[in-house]
Amino acid sequence: MPWDRNQMAARAAQELEDGMYVNLGIGIPTLVANYVGDKDITLQSENGMLGMGPFPFEGEEDPDLINAGKQTITELSRTAYFDSATSFAMIRGGKIAAAVLGAMEVDEEGDLANWMIPGVLVKGMGGAMDLVAGVGRVIVVMDHTNKHGKSKLLTKCTLPLTGKKVVNRIITNLGVLDVVDGGLKIVETAEGVTEDEIRDATEATVVN
């Protein structure tokens, strides 16, 4: 059985280690916060916050306290606030250990496309280009194939890039792959999924 969204998020949470400062993207990456357990993880929100807490209880929303997805959130006892230039200084400066991001396409060189589909309304890259260029480790969480059944793990990205040679690890509904010299390497399969099934669903070169 392929992993569902929550299982993918739980698997991504295993990538995070005690003491890490981490930035989580929108979508499945946001769910990763639910699975960090007892690990001492500090979440960064690039609009200017370290130590992001859960959503507020109804009636306790604060318009001055939002995450990068513009959702109301809460602070923790460890929280620190700062301005946007400082926020991206810590991102660009390599202080954030890892980013977990969604993607439209990843290729075998680690190129990532997740911000623009030509001909479709373009909303902008937000902080994604800065994150992938600056953080220590980029972990992509996405479905292995698109809604038409086509692989999202390609030999070469076709969409405009967010970053070149930036992805370290890809967690899909079928398993976990690393970007290595020569292509992608399967490091884990979802329970009941075979390596051959992953190879069949992957356009990119899969190395042994």
Binding site: G48, E61, D64, S84, F88, R92, G127, A133
Partner: protein
């Protein structure tokens, strides 16, 4: 040194002209200079270029200046959530320059710090890098981005004293600090102007040297994405 003005219209008096370049603070609808934007709308100033992370929504934030077609160009990192923006952009009425969010923040910070250009890894190998100078440092490739020098900066803070020292609240600080620094003139709107001496000098987020004019006003502080959890989730 009189910095405190009665209202947004008076604070902007003599500062606006057609075709000017304005840097605005805020992230989404959080910490936006809503009163100053409303006052700019009332003046009818045309052909404005805005550097602002976002473009507001249709009826709030910079969106109100899009409705009145006062904006010629936006420099932003993300512009979803705004139907009128998209209509004007797709019909060619509005120019749009995407900057990666951190590059936009650093362009403002650099401009305010007297730095006309800097090198960053952000955007290397993407459309953002096209036409820009590339330079290698220690075996890695960077692109040059330019500091931003705005005619006017408009920002929103929580508290100010009458010398313009500003304190922000939570994530409403965001782009307000770098935006304020990159303007030739900066006008700040705040929720409360407090007596001199009542702000902790060790806890000033933006020193008054960057702030030329201040107004106090009542803010709507609209929430864009109200998300909550139920008590039993705790």
């Amino acid at each position: 040194m009189k910095k405190v003005y009665a209202n947004a219209a008076e604070a902007l008096d003599g500062l606006l002209h057609d075709g000017m370049f304005i840097a605005a603070g805020g992230f989404g609808l959080c910490g936006i200079p809503e009163l100053l934007l409303e006052a700019i709308k009332e003046t009818g100033t045309q052909d404005l270029t805005f550097a602002s992370n976002n473009a507001g929504v249709d009826d709030f934030g910079i969106g109100i200046l899009l409705q009145t077609k006062q904006v010629k160009k936006m420099i932003s990192s993300y512009v979803g959530e705004n139907a009128e923006f998209m209509r004007q952009y797709l019909s060619g009425e509005l120019e749009l320059e995407f900057n990666p969010q951190g590059t936009l923040a650093e362009r403002m910070r650099a401009g305010g710090a007297g730095i006309p250009g800097f090198y960053t890894k952000t955007g290397v190998g993407t459309v953002i890098a096209e036409g820009k100078e590339h330079k290698d440092f220690n075996g890695e490739t960077y692109i040059m981005e330019e500091g931003m020098f705005a005619d006017l900066a408009i920002v929103k803070a929580w508290k100010a004293d009458d010398t313009g020292n500003l304190v922000f609240r939570k994530t409403a600080r965001n782009f307000n600090v770098p935006a304020a620094t990159c303007g030739k003139i900066c006008v700040a709107e705040v929720e409360e102007i407090v007596p001199r001496g009542s702000l902790d000098p060790d806890a000033i987020h933006l020193p008054g040297i960057y702030v030329n004019r201040i107004i106090q006003g009542t803010h709507e502080k609209r929430i864009e994405q109200r998300t909550t959890r139920k008590t039993e989730d705790a």
